[in-house]
Each structure stands twice: as structure tokens, then as C-alpha cells.
Symmetry: C2
């Protein structure tokens, strides 16, 4: 079979520590199952690369990466100037730019961040129904608030005006909303297989086995809010088996804390999705366990990118303290994704997921080093 | 002394029910202390007014209201078309528009939403340090994401593009950030009076008695994010006694759930503040208890507006089930605010606040009607 190629990018802060454990797991799985994968380590994008070459990654970075089937990334970023003026200064907007460039350059228009409170993960909410949290937040990842258009007029003067343009296209809305409905169906199907159906009130009182909730702020940000609402209603007609729901972003954040177990699939814009997925990470037990991926579902020539939701956590970097769980879940998701091309990989992905979940269930809550956690997972893979 | 005039607007849904209890409390306090206040009830803005006259409020609404010293508003809005197509349809963007018109028209550039988990209020977080939550979220209320600029190009076609412009001014940033620092000082002073100092790490390791945290998304929305950061650093120099902190909106939402007791004053943009204040309401025990106000601190001719954070809750409207606590706290805040003109009112405001808090401490958590709660508060006022 064709060998699938992975670009491995440790990045900054705790990135290298957690990525190195991910690579150990990949090695172990490759050996065990003769997986047709290989990988190349990239020293960029990173703070260190910038220190040496004056840029966070080379100019031809994207065309180099285009040769790969997936990108596995640890974390980017170093604290900005506000934290410690003695450091080598690199604002977030520079060090994190490659994330946005890859998402845009490879048209990774789906960002998927599931939230489940797995056994062993920390429960932040008082209500024990938190144990039933099982949602998938789907973030629009290619446009909207993140187009980077705007500027500063009369910069630095008392008359300064800063603008930032949000640009949404109907095509962008359609593809992400349709993707949401497809995922809802797949989730219902999987639950049916597991005998764990859920019920959501659908149109006309009918009970449905899955739900899509679309998020906007249409009462204040009308233009794209109305467009999203219309597109949502239109596409919903193709999915009469899926219940529909609408929440405003402010109310959605509230309900994520008050009753997160009522959500199934949530579709949100780039910024609103960014916010909801950080909340979703907390609902799953915190940044230490929250996986993420940036997908291009329709162009097989474009690599998708797999990076945990967490950042580079410079405060604990280099001490072997970082929890690699999120990175390992993310790696499992990558294998599953590559499984669309080579089914062996999907199986390996599930195996890795199960091993990480089993470790969490057994040891979650005890204080452990990066290495301890990874070793426990590796032992389960053997 | 001069009589202060209040425009009372019940609005929609549960608005009339909770406002009527607020008016009972005002009556009781006026009688008891000979307060120099009077009020006028307005049937608009409301859904009903729209049904009759085709607009949510009259065209000269703002100039009528300008005659008043404060506006006390219940709640606005009826569910949009997605919920029940049989209803008289009025989208949120129409029924809620008066809120935004009043905020803009009277330049109510400060929205203040405190979060404290008072005894008796519901604790949503598992960690008992939640009992120490005591923060003030200050939302920029006059510009930013809410300027309403944008549109829909090629509306309804597959080539549609919807834009929404965010416009931030340095003047807008300066006044809200400075207001935040002033509030931080006042809070430190009040805590010192109560012997309940808090400590926050300030610049150079110095411990400060208060903190301002400014929120942006400067790593993705650079233009105003950078401007806010610069203005924040500049103004902070005038307040060496106040600790400073910066959070990105996504991380801030996360920390509001993971460690909300670490915040003191939080300053956020219009949309980001909208989101954070809904979370802050949950931290305080939910929408039933969360007060809010929209202030114009520098022009005494412009009325400020007092409305709870909650909406019109049409699902429970008309049944006498709504919790009036948030409305009564909001009314207390109004009296306190009017106390800048007439100190008697400030005293009455504190009395009302104490009565509502005492009721909550004694009866919070038991299921009670609107009337029961209000009566218990009224008894305490006698
Ligand atoms: C680092 C930042 C630009 C990024 C984002 O806002 O998308 C991050 O918060 C994320 O969620 O992946
Ligand atoms: C009703 C809506 C326009 C309003 C806002 O977004 O400001 C509300 O959510 C609020 O927080 O007061």
C-alpha cells in the first residue's frame, strides 16, 4: 500500500515534550501493525526558528508541507511582551500566525473539537449529569472574523480608529452547516450501534436521534446571523431525521455551563467556535485532555492539521510536567482520519484512543509526569 | 430636593411581572424614606406595541426618555420564527433593537455586571472556592462589534457575501479602560473598609489590592487587539497601585469556569463582554439573580438604563414563576446610581440590596413564585 507521510512539528513550549510522546506511540503502533506511515520532523514553525532566521517559518513552508498527508503539531507561541520584558519578544500575532496560514492555505475549513467527560477526567461542574456530556463542536475555520482584514487609522493618536472586518460567504456557511448535519447522522448511527440512543425534540414534536445546534449573534450581528439562519433552515430540510436548534453565542456559553449534556453537534463561526471550544475543553476535563483537528474534507491533496486545543504553556515548559493526553487523543484522531485512505490506520487510531482513555480512567486525577502518562499508554499498546 | 424621574418599561414576556415587583419595592421605600422620586410607566418598547402600531416604540421615544433621570427596563423580545411559526413573528433584531438604540442614543458606554456568588444562590461549579467569586465585568457598550455596519451582497444567491464591520476608537478604549481602573480602586477601598483585602501580583512582584484584567483576541483580531493592549499599558501607568492582567477571550471563558475567584475587575469589548457577562451570570447563580446596568457616567443629562441580564423568558411568562431577584438587584443599583444626585437614594438602594440578599440567603434554593419572593423582600423593607 501507499505510504502516508506525516509532517511532525513540535513547535514551542510544551509542544516538543508532548509531540515526542506522540511519536513514541506512532513508532510502537507502526511496528506492531506494519503501518504504512513515515514522518519528518520540522524545526519550524517556532520561536527558535524566528530567533535564528527572523521568521517563524520559511517562506516556502506551505509548498513543502503540501507534500505531506497530514500535519501533527504540538503547540505554538511564547508569551507576549506584557509578561516579562526581559524575554526575546515575539507577539502572539507573529508566533501563532502559521496556524492561521496553514488553516487558510490548505483550506482546512472544519475544526472539530469533541467534548466528552471521560472517566478519570476532572469534573468542573457540580451537577453529576456532567458525566453525560457528549458533544461535538464544529468550528468554521476558514473565514468569518478571522479573515484578517482591517487596520488602524491615525494609529497612536487620540483620533485613532481600529477596524476589523468579518466576512462570511454563503458557500462557507453551507459547507460547514452541511458537515454538521452529516456528523449528526454519523453520531446517531454510532450510538445506535452501541445501543446508546439519545432523543432530541424535532420539528412537529417528532423525536430525533441527533441534533444540530447552530450558533450566531443574530440579534446584534445581523448580516451574517441572518444568512446563517437561512442557510441552516434550508439545509435542515435535507435532514428531516435530525433535530435543529439555534442559540445565541452568549446564551450558548451559559448553557455550556448550566446544561452541557443537552447538546449534540454544535456548529459555530470561527471566533464563536474558538470561544465555545475552549469551554468545551473545560467540560471535557481541561486543556490537558482536549484534542482538536483542522480538516479539509474534500481535497485529498491538501494535508489536514492535528493539534491539541491547548497552547504552549511556557510556564511549565521543559520540566516534563505537561499532560500528553490531549496530544495523544489528537494523534489518534489523525490516524483515524488517515484511515480514510488506509483502513489499517483507522484501526490503529482507535487502538490508541482506547489506550489513552483506559489510562485516563485508571490514573486520571493522580499527579503524573509527561513520561509516566506516555509510558502507561505505551504499555497498553504492547 | 429635586424630584428624580424614572421611566419604567415593563417590556415583554416576564418583564411586566418582575417590573411590577420592582415598583412595589420602590413604593415602599419612597413612603418609608420620603424619597424624592416619581415614575412613569411606558407601554413601549414591546411586542404588543409593535402589533398595534407596527413599530416597537414611537419614533420620538428617545427624546421623550431624555426627560427622565433613569430608565428601568424589564426585558424585551419574543422568540423568533424558528421556534413556533404560528406566533406573531418579530425577529429579535427588531424587538431588541430599542436596547441598542438607547445604549447608543444616550451614550451609555459602560455596562456593569458584577458576579458574586451570594449565600443562597446556586453553585454551578464543583470547586467550593466558587463561594469566593467576586468580580465586576465591565463591558464596553457603545462601539466595537455592535456598530451595526455591514450588509449582504448578492443576498440569497450562492455567491452571497455577508460582512460585519467592527469599529473601535481609541477614545472608546481609553474611557472604558480608565473606568475599569477607577472601579478597581473603589473596590480595593471598599474591601479595606470591610477588612477583606485581596492580593494580586503586580508589576515587579509588588502585591496590589486590586486588579484589572483586559480581554482581547489580539492573536487573531490584531488591529483593535493591539490598540487595546497599548491603551491598557498606557493607562496602567497612572494606576501603579492596581495589578494588571491580560487574557484572550477564549482563555478567559475557560478561566471563568476553572478559577473565577482569581478575577477582580474585567474589561471587555461589546461582544466579548456580552459573552463574559452571561458566563458571569451563571457564576452568580444564574440569570435569576444577575443584575446589569448601562451607564453614561459623564453626562448627567443622559439617562442611564437599568435592566437585568436576563431576557424575556417567554416559556414561563404570564405564570408568576419568574424570579424577580435580578430585577430587584438591578433596581437597587439604579437607586445607588441616582444617589450621586441625592444621597438618600443611595441609602435606599443599599437597603433594597441588603433585603434581597437576605431573602436569597434565607430562602434561595426553595421553589417560590414571583410574588413570594417579592413579598419576602417587601417584608424586610418594612
Ligand atoms: C492561537 C489562536 C490564533 C487559535 C485560534 O484562535 O484559532 C487558538 O486559540 C485555537 O483555538 O486554535
Ligand atoms: C439582547 C441583546 C442585543 C443584548 C446584547 O447582546 O447586548 C443582550 O444579550 C444583553 O447582554 O444585554
Amino acid at each position: 500500500p501507499q505510504t502516508l507521510r506525516i509532517a511532525v512539528m513540535p513547535g514551542d513550549g510544551i509542544g516538543p515534550e508532548v509531540v515526542s510522546e506522540a511519536v513514541h506511540c506512532l513508532e510502537s503502533l507502526r511496528e506492531k501493525h506494519q503501518l504504512p506511515i513515515e514522518w519528518t520532523r520540522f524545526p519550524w514553525p517556532s520561536h527558535a526558528w524566528h530567533e535564528q532566521y527572523g521568521e517563524v517559518m520559511p517562506e516556502d513552508a506551505l509548498s513543502q508541507l503540501e507534500q505531506y498527508d497530514a500535519i501533527l503539531l504540538g503547540a505554538l507561541g511564547d508569551p507576549g511582551p506584557m509578561d516579562d520584558p526581559e524575554r526575546y519578544l515575539l507577539p502572539d500575532s507573529v508566533s501563532l500566525a502559521p496556524l492561521l496560514q496553514m488553516r487558510k492555505g490548505f483550506d482546512q475549513w472544519v475544526c472539530e473539537r469533541p467534548a466528552r467527560l471521560l472517566p478519570g477526567a476532572r469534573q468542573y461542574l457540580a451537577d453529576d449529569r456532567a458525566r453525560d456530556i457528549d458533544m461535538l463542536v464544529i468550528r468554521e475555520n476558514s473565514e468569518g472574523e478571522y479573515v484578517g482584514q482591517g487596520g488602524r487609522l491615525r494609529q497612536g493618536t487620540e483620533h485613532e480608529v481600529a477596524t476589523q472586518m468579518e466576512v462570511f460567504t454563503r458557500r462557507g456557511a453551507e459547507r460547514i452547516i452541511r458537515y454538521g448535519f452529516e456528523q449528526a447522522r454519523l453520531r446517531a448511527e454510532a450510538r445506535r450501534g452501541d445501543g446508546k440512543q439519545r432523543k432530541f425534540p424535532g420539528r412537529g414534536g417528532k423525536l430525533c436521534e441527533s441534533q444540530v445546534c447552530v450558533i450566531t449573534k443574530r440579534n446584534a450581528l445581523r448580516y451574517w446571523g441572518d444568512m446563517y439562519t437561512e442557510v441552516f433552515e434550508e439545509i435542515a430540510r435535507d435532514y428531516p431525521d435530525v433535530a435543529t436548534h439555534h442559540e445565541l453565542i452568549d446564551a450558548a456559553c451559559m448553557k455550556f455551563v448550566q446544561a452541557p449534556w443537552t447538546f449534540d453537534v454544535v456548529v459555530a463561526s470561527n471566533l464563536q467556535g474558538d470561544i465555545l471550544t475552549d469551554l468545551a475543553a473545560v467540560l471535557s476535563g481541561g486543556m490537558g485532555v482536549a484534542p482538536s483537528c483542522n480538516l479539509n474534507p474534500d481535497d485529498p491533496d491538501m494535508p489536514s492539521m492535528f493539534e491539541p486545543t491547548h497552547g504552549s504553556a511556557p510556564d511549565i515548559a521543559g520540566q516534563g510536567l505537561a499532560d500528553p493526553t490531549a496530544m495523544l487523543f489528537t494523534t489518534a484522531r489523525m490516524l483515524e482520519w488517515l484511515g480514510r485512505r488506509e483502513p489499517l490506520l483507522a484501526k490503529a487510531g482507535r487502538e490508541l484512543y482506547d489506550a489513552v482513555a483506559a489510562d485516563l480512567a485508571q490514573n486520571g486525577g493522580t499527579r503524573r509526569d509527561t513520561r509516566d502518562i506516555a509510558d502507561s499508554v505505551l504499555n497498553r499498546l504492547k
